[in-house]
Symmetry: C2
Subunit: 328 residues, 2 copies
DNA sequence: CTACTGCGAGACAACGTTGTCTCTCGATTT
DNA sequence: AAATCGAGAGACAACGTTGTCTCGCAGTAG
């Protein structure tokens, strides 16, 4: 019925040699007489033979699938997408393929997808942890894991993250230098290490003068509401530090809506598209998602190649980009 | 040395049953006595046994890897990322995993990655064609392929694309209705079906009055330069139709730089982040990338399930979103 | 002219799982 | 009470490939 793909046996028959000889030619072994090798290659060509990676994997000693898994928060978010792309580029250079998944901060999905990738025998995993306990990894996932963007809880491994504390502190000091004293904080759930670290940087920069803070902001409308709240509140902030891009964009929208975009200073953590074309252009602490991804990939490939040694924590520097909104 | 993962044999020994009984329990067959099944499940638990998908795949009759390949232009581009995410969501609902790759409009990469995915026995492929001849697909890729965003050349299959001609024509008519007569076109290489179709829509709407057109625009700076050129040229356009988001953003930047963003009308094809927050807000013909991805995924899964029948071409409608820049 | 060496090539087992066949044993039918 | 049946469980082969072993043969040494 269905025309089956040819196997090594078919090639062997067509070339008039033994199956094993075909295997040798396909694997580039040099111990085959040139004329036989030529016949085999011809047969491979005409039959359009392609090795069955599953079977080969099963028998081979090294057991490599040349595939890695990448689990990020949301592959359609610009930050995750940039990390993803950088990983893909590193993988491609090595002929390695990439299985992807979006976690949407859901620990169950994190657990399930990590386990599923392990079952599929991926050679390694790059994970942006949701913040939940990862003790299941040690049990179920027997491959190198590198964490990116967020610190893991309940597991150890190489970790590549931004300089969140100093980046956030720098942003806030930038506002302080402009004379602001009542600076509000908008950020995500503190379960996430990024939120914790950025909030810490905010607090360090302000000392006892820390202003109103709203956490747990994930979608745009929540961020917009929170912006209105911190401006209306008793402390009536004159400046806002938004600790992730969704919060920043929410703040931009709310300020615009209130007509106060030129009166309230705003610095966001994580750059976003078009930030420089808005009015005012938005000052941000830019992360380097491509470098995060690239570095994580390099770490992972080192581990896959057998590098051992204690887990490394690599910090990728952030850059303050003053554009106008933070200089009011 | 390396602690090997347990196999079915290990589980069988631990549970005191035969290997085949373990296989039956793992695969949820009902012909196993409850007490034996319980023993097996306990052993699976304590040994943390996970089936070897490669081996199972090799022997099974249906030969499904429950993995599909997705090849898009650039997973970090917002449009591709949204398509990707929609596909992933459909796949997840079916417990299917996704291998991704970015093609960057490179036919060689398209060919290599398609072949590599075929070797990996993916169950199907969703492809945004680069525009090059795809006759190699029929030869080397024996799985269902669904095309998304762009029409294939040299291959057939279900195809899910936007209503490019009518969308572009609508954009241009919108400008004509505002009194514009000299409307420039900025677009990508006409090798891409999207560029061809959008240019066709532009020409249809304008008839013999078509204005200056610049093709082959891919990066921002080229689009900026082209914008300056069509404004300075002999026909001195009063409006611009930008046929993809990179061209639109380039035009926005150039107009801003020239200080003419409130004098020259602009409509872009494909929405982009923050378009509504710019000054002026940018009028666009919005595509529905999520629906494109979802529809492509549904088509592919139907084909994987065995649906036969002639290739379908599905058009996803576009929506004109007037925001200001096109109403000057 | 026999014995040894080395290399090319095939035979065979094995990887971890599932499909098929067979066997046992208790229950039902006549 | 003998024959039949069915369900549960194991033995065995097979999936497509690679690792290992062996064999044959040409070339060389004694």
């Amino acid at each position: 019925m269905t025309p089956q793909r040819p196997t090594m046996n078919d090639v062997a028959r067509a070339a008039g040699v033994s199956l094993k000889t075909v295997s040798r030619v396909v694997n580039g072994e040099t111990t085959v007489a040139p004329d036989l090798a030529a016949k085999v290659r011809a047969a491979v060509e005409t039959l359009d033979y392609r090795p069955h990676l599953g079977a080969s994997m099963l028998r081979r000693n090294d057991r490599r699938t040349r595939t890695i898994g990448v689990l990020l928060d949301d592959v359609s978010h610009p930050f995750s997408a940039a990390v993803h792309r950088a990983i893909e580029d590193q993988a491609r250079a090595r002929g390695i393929h990439v299985l992807t998944g979006s976690l949407d901060q859901d620990p169950a999905r994190e657990r399930d997808l990590a386990a599923a990738f392990a079952e599929r025998q991926t050679d390694g995993l790059i994970l942006a942890p949701t913040g939940a306990d990862l003790d299941h990894l040690a049990f179920h996932v027997d491959m190198p894991v590198v964490f990116v963007d967020r610190l893991p809880t309940g597991a150890t491994g190489d970790t590549v993250v931004s300089t969140n504390v100093s980046g956030a502190a720098g942003a806030v000091r930038h506002l302080i230098a402009r004379g602001h004293r009542r600076i509000a904080y908008l950020g995500a759930n503190l379960r996430l290490s990024t939120a914790r670290e950025r909030f810490l940087g905010y607090q360090r920069a302000l000392g006892h003068r820390a202003g109103p803070a709203v956490h747990d902001l994930h979608d745009l409308t929540a961020a917009e509401r929170a912006t209105v709240a911190v401006l209306r509140g008793p402390s009536s902030a004159t400046a806002i530090f938004a600790a992730h891009s969704m919060a920043t964009i929410g703040a931009v929208r709310a300020l615009r809506h209130l007509g106060r975009q030129h009166r309230i200073a705003l610095v966001g953590f994580d750059d976003f598209p078009m930030a420089d074309l808005l009015d005012p252009p938005i000052t941000v602490v830019a992360q380097d998602p491509a470098r995060l991804g690239r570095t994580a990939a390099l770490s992972l490939f080192e581990r896959i190649e057998g590098h051992t040694g204690p887990p490394r924590e690599i910090r990728i520097p952030t850059t303050l980009i003053p554009r106008g909104s933070g200089e009011l």
